[in-house]
């Protein structure tokens, strides 16, 4: 039972759904029709390119391609996180990049090499799984940093009052780190709660569509959800635990 190849002309019909969205957006005076068009166009081009690259890599598997793909993914994910948090200092940004790259690679390696038992450099496993792992790590990090920065700004009085009383910056800032980590983890845990009942997740759906036995597909799905939770936790924890230390100097002055 293989997957039914989509006929390109029939495939084009899916874009008709965008017209529905466009129509409703116009009616509701949501002035984002340009964004919708640009986004769907970009998605199409990016995925076609990814499809071409993946076809080439899967036909000519080479460890270098796998490594290059992971590096590219980490770079783009880091840039996106940093673009949403421009006010951070350079060292904090470095901590974010390294945490994302380190924890992502570690989790993908554990998943592919140890749990699945495939070669880490085998692109068929490593590339799609990396995409999910790094993508989720990126979302988690963005969420955590946004909450960390917003809370620090909103509670500036608390930070200053404690500092003026002779409390160490470490003690003042750690609760903000813990809070941001919680903010990033809760949505992932909630997704696990609804899994299988409210949602049949993308990877599982994809595997079933392409003919994998449902019981095999769920094993992968369980594994990826746990891996995602772990990578969000690791990446956010590492980024913030190294990052918050860049917010004060050796005179215990907080520089935000």
């Amino acid at each position: 039972m293989g997957v039914v190849e989509i006929n390109l002309a029939q495939f084009a019909l899916i874009y008709v759904l965008l017209l529905v969205v466009l129509f409703i957006m116009k009616r509701s005076k949501i002035n984002q029709s340009k964004l919708l068009l640009v986004a769907s166009f970009r998605m199409t081009v990016q995925l076609v390119l990814a499809g071409l690259v993946l076809t080439y890599i899967l036909e000519n598997p080479h460890p270098l391609f796998t490594v290059a793909y992971i590096i590219a993914m980490t770079t783009f994910a880091t840039i996106r996180v940093l673009n949403q948090n421009k006010e951070l200092n350079k060292k904090f940004k470095l901590a974010i990049g390294l945490s994302l790259a380190g924890s992502g690679t570690l989790i993908v390696f554990f998943f592919v090499q140890i749990v699945v038992g495939m070669d880490f450099f085998n692109p068929q496993y490593t590339i799609p799984l990396s995409g999910m792992i790094f993508g989720n790590a990126m979302t988690g990090l963005s969420l955590a940093l946004k909450s960390f920065n917003e809370n620090l700004k909103a509670q500036r009085n608390r930070v200053e009052s404690l500092l003026y009383l002779g409390v160490t910056p470490k003690k003042i800032l750690l609760p903000f780190v813990n809070n941001a980590l919680e903010t990033a983890l809760v949505p992932t845990m909630n997704r696990m709660m609804g899994m299988g009942i409210i949602s049949l997740p993308g990877m599982m759906t994809g595997q079933i569509l392409s003919g994998t036995l449902p019981m095999t597909a769920i094993l992968y799905q369980i594994a990826i959800m746990i891996a995602i939770t772990a990578v969000v936790c690791l990446a956010v924890f590492a980024a913030l635990i190294f990052g918050y230390k860049t917010l004060y100097n050796d005179r215990n002055q907080i520089t935000i």
Partner: protein
């Protein structure tokens, strides 16, 4: 009288430049000056939450640039213009601030004593969320003074209080500080207050442009 602070012409932020000043130990010193003259900044320089670009500040004879800043701030507490209380009861606020300072919470009687000193004798179970700005200010001062620092610096401590309450609070604090050898440094716009309670007044001029 001993000098607790010797301030040797510190400069900050490229625009603030302070003259040579001294602050006597155990006294109540008021700092006055036009807005923008750097009164609040001076207090932050004194407890090393800011570092001057030039010049030195000596605390009890020691150059503060060579001191452990945390130890210094425990002795020289600054109460800023915007005080902070946790969204908890008054008792819990004492407990949390003491926990941040690694100290066991004081007993109820001690808390009440300091609250009374600051004319904030509310029930300890009262939630700080519902209190007014002036009430919060007084509770925060009570918590700070209960740490018994060597120096207490207050930036506009009576900004949210009416004149009569402001006078009572400051009068009580001054008497308490004198009794316990605590130096009090107050930045205030209120000239009446400084006439009534200052042992010394330092006026900072706005310099440059």
């Amino acid at each position: 009288m001993d000098k607790i602070f010797a301030i040797e012409k510190p400069k900050f932020g490229g625009i603030l430049e302070y003259p040579k000043m001294e602050i006597s130990s155990g006294n109540t010193t008021f700092i006055q000056g036009a807005s923008g003259a750097g009164k609040s900044t001076l207090l932050k320089l004194l407890n090393a939450t800011l570092t001057p670009e030039e010049g030195e500040i000596y605390y009890a004879g020691k150059d503060i640039s060579e001191m452990d800043t945390i130890e210094l701030r425990k002795e020289v507490i600054l109460i800023g213009q915007n005080v902070y209380l946790f969204d908890e009861t008054i008792r819990e606020n004492f407990r949390m601030y003491y926990a941040y300072r690694d100290l066991p919470a004081p007993d109820d009687e001690t808390m009440k004593k300091y609250l009374k000193l600051c004319h904030a004798d509310f029930r300890l179970e009262e939630s700080c969320v519902r209190l007014s700005g002036g009430e919060r200010q007084r509770i925060y001062i009570a918590i700070c003074i209960s740490f018994l620092p060597k120096v207490i610096m207050m930036d506009e401590p009576t900004s949210a209080l009416d004149a009569s309450t402001a006078g009572k609070v400051l009068g009580n604090l001054k008497a308490f500080c004198r009794e316990n050898g605590i130096t009090m440094i107050v930045v205030s716009h209120d000239e009446k207050l400084s006439e009534d309670y200052a042992d010394e007044v330092i006026t900072i001029e706005r310099r440059g442009n």
